[in-house]
Point group: C2
Chain length 204, copies 2
């Protein structure tokens, strides 16, 4: 199909498609004439992935890393998950103190060598943000966070398809990045429900 049809099918405007082509997030179409290229279903699917990642707040550099992982997946399922996490993670920051993060990670069953250290930086950065704002998470609440996240991760990893590297990386990368906004949105709905139950119309 031509670029105009690709645009209609994917819902992505032609100038944006051209931008993705220039940024090499989308592979070139097959040349059908010197100034014309032909695109296929793989392009429609890839545009869906890019659009979803961008909508999920992943940067263009992050999208590029995800796309590279999709194009050239590692051979081990565990390495795959690691590279997917690195692809969508913010860069490591040596200024961060990892002590508290490592303590929480250990409570999740983490040991040195378990996986990518970059995920610990993300925990440390989050703890740093809470500390800077003077916000403390009570120990009982933190325990609930750890239990819930472990239950979620166990269910997710149990569902990783092993039929092909492509299927696994698709599941892992998209599952990590795209499920995040869903979890956060569900949490807010659940907070509204719990708040209505506890406070109703109560005046402070």
């Amino acid at each position: 199909m031509r670029i105009s049809e690709l645009s209609t099918k994917s819902g992505v405007p032609v100038p944006t498609i051209k931008y993705y082509l220039r940024e090499q997030l989308l592979p070139e179409g097959e040349r059908s004439a010197p100034t014309q290229a032909s695109y296929g279903e793989a392009h429609v699917k890839r545009l869906g992935v890019i659009r979803a990642l961008v909508a999920a707040g992943v940067s263009i550099a992050g999208v590029r890393r995800v796309v590279e992982t999709l194009d050239d997946p590692p051979t081990s399922a565990h390495l795959l998950l690691g590279s997917a996490h690195v692809a969508i993670a913010p860069p490591a920051d040596d200024a961060l103190d990892l002590v508290a993060a490592k303590d929480l990670a250990r409570q999740l069953g983490w040991e040195p060598g378990t996986g990518e250290e970059s995920v610990l930086y993300a925990v440390a950065r989050a703890l740093d943000g809470l500390k800077a704002a003077g916000f403390e998470v009570a120990p009982a609440l933190m325990a609930t966070y750890l239990t819930s996240m472990r239950e979620i991760a166990d269910a997710e990893i149990a569902g990783v398809p092993t039929s092909s590297p492509e299927a696994a990386v698709q599941y892992v990368v998209l599952g990590s990045a795209l499920v995040e906004p869903l979890l956060l949105a569900l949490r807010r709905v659940a907070q509204q429900v719990a708040s209505a139950k506890r406070f109703g119309g109560d005046v402070l």
Copy 2:
């Protein structure tokens, strides 16, 4: 204290402090001379909140809404939670289909009138992103998401302090926005642990 000392104490550079003052995120200091102002502990604390929100990915417009809620909190604890969610939520989008989102919300105990509809838009937007990428969440996994988020929200709302509107809004706004990166980071650590357990060094 003078602006240079405020900068040292808060770790925020002077030009950034001036930017926050111009954007009215930070209240003016007390004029001590025509070209000089004096700042207090409230400014240090407010800068911590702003810096944490910005680090958590909240936009300047979002920070302004949070700051306005902190300066003028609503009188009901439930309304407070609602306005906090609205402050940090992306704008509603009428193009989104709310049917699937409402179905999930109902499973969390949501009924019409429970709270701010804006949280449903966030669910719909997340589902839309997953759909655009061709990613399906298996029903059993979705059930785990719903259960975990309900447990988290119940524990969080049970801990909302009711001593003062300021304490409650601080807890709700910061707890919503700043705990998000912590939950997501803990999920990734737990995924690495579960992945190492399931796959070890297995080759696909």
